[in-house]
Symmetry: C2
Subunit: 231 residues, 2 copies
DNA sequence: ACAGCTCAAAAGTATGACGATTTGGTTTCC
DNA sequence: GGAAACCAAATCGTCATACTTTTGAGCTGT
């Protein structure tokens, strides 16, 4: 999953620094400066910069240097960029954006899943809904989180749309972030649990409309809750 | 927008070849082989490969080589990956995926735009709707396409959600692809034009529900049409 | 003030050397 | 004969260095 080697380590330093705004838009870095600052060779710096360039976080120009691009050009769907922004000063903006994205995508994915899910997918959703209920009753937040992530990822995957499926990890990151930063009730709400059960049942029954509606209620609720917490 | 220099040229060769499946999943390349095949140095090959690695199209391992990753790991939201897939053998699958994504996202974006659009945005939407009507009547497909792309990009941008905004280029690529590959009626349908007008009016009037509904009709229609064309 | 020229700074590319790691075969020891 | 330990080759990873190309800024002369 991660980028390997020294360029990866450099990325772990530069990426978060840029994503958080610590290195602001328009800032100019020089390759040589980075070599010294991190004690690595030209090769390593260049490869790391190339990757950042691929994410549109920076652009490298001769005679000028490596300039941090305006935020509007960043590849906001890149999983690493999302992770970096979630970890830094941009956290709330990123959570809001992702919240709206979830409201748009997850209901549609649930509807598609009701039509396209395999038998295995349906079985898994059923058992995840059960485990979700159990860990919620036990107030076991860690286990609950894991199952919640699995649940949403499974729905997205079961939709049969590769692009939706890829948002599984991103949604996972959102849920993790929400839990880590205590933007969640300490005990999952019974109402939300019931809705997950409903989504699973509707998908198993092939009822697209109900799956979509129940999922919409879940993600819209999560977004509303988020907006309250963040003001 | 593009990656510069020799690594960029290499990317333009390798990326499409991998995205189209010409170089299949699991295939193994050696750096030295690529140097010879393209007549460039290690530096260039390594940087190109790093970028592909950032897109999760390949993984590089010692003593093994550069292996093409399974499609399920690819960064399907990366604009370059999308473009490469649209240009190659994966075109229909990619168009289908993007079609569903549009059905999920664009109505939500229209609803948000009705609330958040700036005065400039609203003005621009109004005039784009007019120009759309004009170029459609004139059966000027090139101009129509340009305005259509602008229209959808403007709605996405006006939503105020950076992630939606970023899908503007992608939607543009879809519309372009659809026109290029003659997956579109030679004269835009008057019904679709009226719907664009409706979206613009609803957003200008701040009517989120109607903006969402009209946009949903547009993109759902486009998806249905696509499914008919592709069987 | 303006146009053009010159120069130097920075990234881009090439190359040789060495290090690190993984794989797969080979040897060795029960 | 089989299993474990070992070794060697293949390949990427990193470093150091030299050369090339682009381009911005300042200088120069009108």
């Amino acid at each position: 999953m991660e980028i390997q080697g020294l360029p990866g380590r450099l990325l772990d330093e530069l990426g978060p620094a840029i994503a958080s705004g610590e290195i602001p838009e328009g800032a100019v870095l020089r390759g040589e400066e980075l070599e010294e600052r991190f004690g690595v060779s030209r090769t390593v710096v260049r490869e790391a910069v190339r990757i950042l360039e691929g994410m549109r976080l920076v652009a490298s120009r001769r005679r000028v240097g490596i300039t941090v691009q305006p935020r509007s050009l960043w590849d906001v769907f890149d999983p690493l960029v999302i992770r970096w922004r979630l970890a830094g000063a941009d956290r709330s903006a990123q959570l809001r954006s992702l919240g709206s994205l979830r409201v748009a995508v997850e209901p549609a994915a649930a509807a598609l899943a009701a039509v396209h899910a395999s038998d295995d997918d349906r079985r898994e959703l059923g058992s995840l809904a059960v485990e979700l209920t159990v860990s919620a009753r036990a107030a076991d937040l860690t286990t609950f989180l894991r199952h919640d992530i699995d649940f949403h990822a499974t729905v997205l995957r079961a939709s049969g749309n590769e692009m939706f499926a890829h948002l599984g990890d991103t949604v996972g990151a959102v849920l993790t972030g929400r839990t880590e930063y205590h933007l969640m009730p300490h005990q999952p709400e019974p109402y939300a649990i019931r809705l997950h059960r409903e989504v699973a049942d509707a998908i198993c029954a092939g009822d697209a409309a109900q799956a979509e509606q129940a999922m919409r209620t879940i993600v819209a609720g999560a977004l509303e809750e988020l907006n309250q917490q963040l003001g």
